[in-house]
Symmetry: C2
Subunit: 245 residues, 2 copies
Amino acid sequence: MAATSWENSVKSLKGVILDMCGVLYDAGEDGGTPIPGSVEAVKRLKASDLQVRFCTNETQATREVFVAKLQRMGFDICVSEVFSPAPAAVAVLKERGLRPHLLVYDGVVPEFDSVEKANPNCVVIGDAAEKFSYQNLNDAFRVLIGLEKPVLFSLGRGKYYKEDEGLNLDVGVYMKALEYACDVEAEVIGKPDPMFFQKVLDDMGIQSQQTLMIGDDLVNDVGGAQHCGMKGVQVRTGKYSSVWL
Amino acid sequence: MAATSWENSVKSLKGVILDMCGVLYDAGEDGGTPIPGSVEAVKRLKASDLQVRFCTNETQATREVFVAKLQRMGFDICVSEVFSPAPAAVAVLKERGLRPHLLVYDGVVPEFDSVEKANPNCVVIGDAAEKFSYQNLNDAFRVLIGLEKPVLFSLGRGKYYKEDEGLNLDVGVYMKALEYACDVEAEVIGKPDPMFFQKVLDDMGIQSQQTLMIGDDLVNDVGGAQHCGMKGVQVRTGKYSSVWL
């Protein structure tokens, strides 16, 4: 984008959506560490006239636990500003009367407390990390293959993310595995699903062309945002720096 | 196929290739059990004028161990009659000077004893079953993503197979997972790869149209054989009976 065009774009901005992992902090076994300058950057954005929201495909913890972690790192952030796939999935499940078999990280299970889970008629997978054992994936497969019409929800479709010790496989690769095993196409809840971004825009009460998305994932953050008519910017931290630099 | 056409086809047959798991025996934790009538059927085929070979995507044991198991079940079978992916993979690796990172079942590792494995420049996956942990798949992913041009071999591309207690995910779903994670297309060694079937035909010294393939997998056995010009017949045992009946 040429400098003048970029300046004009910035002038029309009314809101900014920030990805979290790889943009605000780097994940790690100790909960992660803030990326230098990011605490201050959020502070400055919130002091500006721009609306600020946070949009993550994080599915290893409830929003409450996740936001508390970010607050401890020094970020000015609250739960109502954060959009993540699990609450969106709960809304979809209830609307369609579906009872999920969950293959998700233990920490995010409480998000599904209000959903009936006995006698499952669909499967929901999140970033289950080490819970993606052969046995657990096989259990999810057997639920799906036993349904007359398999229904699979994937909380995001990311390929991998960066933790302190290197790149880790994300939920998308297990989504592809189950899609292939069962000849089914997963319904993705989270970035880059346009409906997911639309909820953030609705919450801010602004249009997509007035909004900038900042993320480290070229497909799920930048591409997803651009597909919805937003502007998208890729940071050079997170998974960007660990693969391309 | 009409009866007369079928009879004419049978008259021109000179060889039969038999799939093993789901055709000769059902897999299980105790090593599996022969399918009723199959021991006798192999005996009759071998007593006929037809050549007989066995073609499996089994990659949980060396051929020696695998054949010994079948012999204990009562089958008239020897190692030289059995074609499986691991020896074929070893030939490819040596030919191309590749050093594999192996993600395979412990039992098949000895097949790769003669291959250099330090400083890997490719990944080979087989039906690793419970060894397909998150950590092991992530290790294989990190090897691939760290290569300038990722090379992934998959010993077969099956979706699932039947064991006594139900259906189990096969190597193909993990192949799809790594393909997606690394934007790479795996090279499949084993059924339904035409080169794999061709080696069996070469060993018998007959043409594809003189050969019948009998299997329980519509894609990897029957479809793969037909794609090579053989006749293909699907049995109603193995994974067929557990899904469609």
